[in-house]
């Protein structure tokens, strides 16, 4: 063993990735094996796999082989481009596995033909964030009303919020002492 691998081992043991290895080695192994996954670590009690160039269908096959169900799919629009971050949330009954990836040219392969739970999640993301999922068996609008284009939320979500740090409700401040009753 060279000094580099020994240092690497020590570093792994102390990082979130190391925690993942210890907690569920088989799962971490399977996640790392998915083409496109760069790193797997434990953050805030859930398993996070970072995979900017994820092979979505390989991920679906790997999860199906492990018997893990899809919880939902989240999309976070990027303010400066037409891409979005897409997170696939898988739920193995004792832990949550999140696979974070990015759309390529505003599209990602659809999981819906193989995974039923993805069908509605992808339709909603298409309505709200204009992410295309080629291969979806039923790409009709789910959430948006008739006559409104896709990407209803993109621009509004990316606009920075002007939010007061303190709540402006008078109920949020400590109450004045009640007036003395005679």
């Amino acid at each position: 063993m060279t000094a580099d691998t020994m240092t690497a081992d020590i570093m792994t043991a102390n990082t979130a990735a190391g925690t993942a290895e210890r907690a569920c080695p088989r799962l971490t192994e399977a996640l790392r094996a998915i083409p496109g996954v760069r790193s797997v670590d434990v953050r805030n009690g859930a398993l996070w796999a970072d995979a900017p160039l994820l092979d979505v269908e390989a991920m679906a096959a790997a999860m199906a082989a492990l018997g893990i169900r899809l919880g939902t799919v989240t999309a976070i629009p990027h303010p400066d481009s037409a891409e979005s971050t897409v997170i696939y949330h898988y739920i193995d009954e004792h832990r949550i596995i999140n696979v974070k990836t990015c759309t390529r040219n505003g599209a990602l392969a659809s999981l819906a033909p193989r995974v039923r739970a993805a069908s509605w999640a992808e339709r909603e993301i298409r309505d709200l964030f204009a992410v295309e999922f080629p291969g979806h068996p039923n790409p009709v609008p789910l959430i948006r009303p008739e006559g409104i284009d896709t990407a209803t939320l993109r621009e509004a979500m990316c606009r920075p919020a002007t939010v007061a740090r303190k709540p402006s409700s008078p109920l949020a401040s400590p109450p004045a002492p009640p007036p003395a009753r005679s």
Partner: protein, 359 residues
């Protein structure tokens, strides 16, 4: 002659807007399409425009029946990001409110389910029983709906006299055991309408990834309170209720027995309320950059929240996936080959919460 029968969005069976369009031949349904989105309000967008205190009030109003679940799950997510440890007393109080909410939600469902099979008297009985739960919730939080009990770091109100709520629990257990459960499981006309109706096999339940009582009634033993215990469920001990049949009767029985379990949990929690502070942090919470995914057991199943923060005054992204979002699509396989008369009770039996689905 085949015809298309739309049920909704002015829905006769549930007072919520969603549409099930069925293709029928005679009285038999051949296929169904579910349409939602009629009460979409863009809450995920609005959440990004509110600060960390105002957003709880907003999130609570995603739904009226499971309002506490949403606020509680959001607060758990924010606390996870910020690394705030919940005081024990706050965890117990949150558990009590969550279980009370489960009770009122299941009773509401039982009443609506009874109405949908035409059993008006049972509906009246169940709703009279539900008033006991609503009275308890009002006594604790001041509201019958949207309790406003959760804040990031703890709860806002105390339960100063836990023993005062025990008689209501006893009356509830008595009503459930003597009226509701026997009527649903023994009345011949109720059985005739619910047994063997709307079957979802275990394989279908796994394929459609259903959660909550619908999954547990099809033989899938999944319950967040058992699999990944949160709040005080690990301390109080929790037994999940599972049935293998997968029909409407099984879902009724699962919810009824869950209600009995909830009564037991509330009683245990009230009797073992530990002393201590109500909140871990005072004043405005400071949530650093980070992201968390939390799931809790809402009355309808697993509620999933993804909250991302960039250290700012408002959340960077709030993603809400409610149990109805995965349970409502499962209506489509359940109604195939069933008579049209059963459409109403089958779609009521997945306990759809449209406000939750549409957000």
């Amino acid at each position: 002659m085949p015809y298309s029968f739309p049920l909704g969005p002015y829905h006769p069976a549930l007072e919520e807007p969603f549409k099930v369009k069925v293709q029928c031949k005679g009285e038999v349904i051949e296929s169904a399409t579910v349409e939602v989105g009629f009460s979409y309000r863009g809450i995920e967008l609005l959440a990004q425009k509110r600060n960390w205190v105002e957003v709880i009030t907003l999130i609570e109003r995603v739904c009226g029946i499971c309002s506490n679940t949403h606020a509680m799950t959001f607060c758990l997510a924010a606390e996870t990001i910020a690394g705030i440890e919940l005081p024990k007393r706050a965890a117990h109080i949150r558990t009590i409110i969550a279980e009370l909410e489960r009770l009122h939600s299941h009773l509401l469902w039982a009443g609506v389910g009874a109405e949908d099979i035409g059993f008006h008297s049972l509906f009246m009985e169940v709703f009279t029983l539900r008033e006991r739960v609503m009275d308890t919730l009002e006594a604790i939080s001041g509201n019958r709906v949207n309790y406003g009990m959760n804040c990031i770091g703890g709860v806002l109100r105390d339960i100063p006299d836990p023993a005062a709520h025990l008689p209501a629990l006893d009356a509830l257990a008595k009503g459930l055991g003597e009226v509701v459960i026997p009527t649903f499981t023994q009345n011949p006309t109720a059985l005739a309408r619910t047994r063997g109706v709307g079957r979802l096999s275990r394989e279908q339940a796994v394929e459609w990834a259903v959660v909550g009582p619908v999954a547990r009634a099809s033989g899938l033993d999944i319950d967040v309170r058992k699999d990944q215990p949160y709040l005080s469920y690990a301390d109080l001990g929790f037994e999940s209720v599972v049935r293998p049949e997968g029909d409407v009767q099984a879902r009724v029985v699962v919810r009824a027995l869950e209600m009995m379990e909830s009564v037991r949990l509330i009683r245990e929690a009230l009797l073992s309320l530990p002393p201590g502070p109500l909140r871990a942090t005072q004043g405005l919470p400071e949530i650093p950059a980070g992201e968390a995914t939390i799931r809790t057991e809402a009355p309808r199943g697993e509620a999933f929240y993804y909250v991302a923060s960039e250290g700012g005054a408002s959340p960077a992204r709030v993603k809400i996936r409610t149990p109805s979002f995965v349970n409502i699509p499962a209506i489509e396989p359940m109604v195939m080959g069933q008579p049209l008369a059963d459409l109403s009770i089958i779609q009521a039996s997945v306990d759809p919460c449209i406000s939750c689905t549409d957000r």
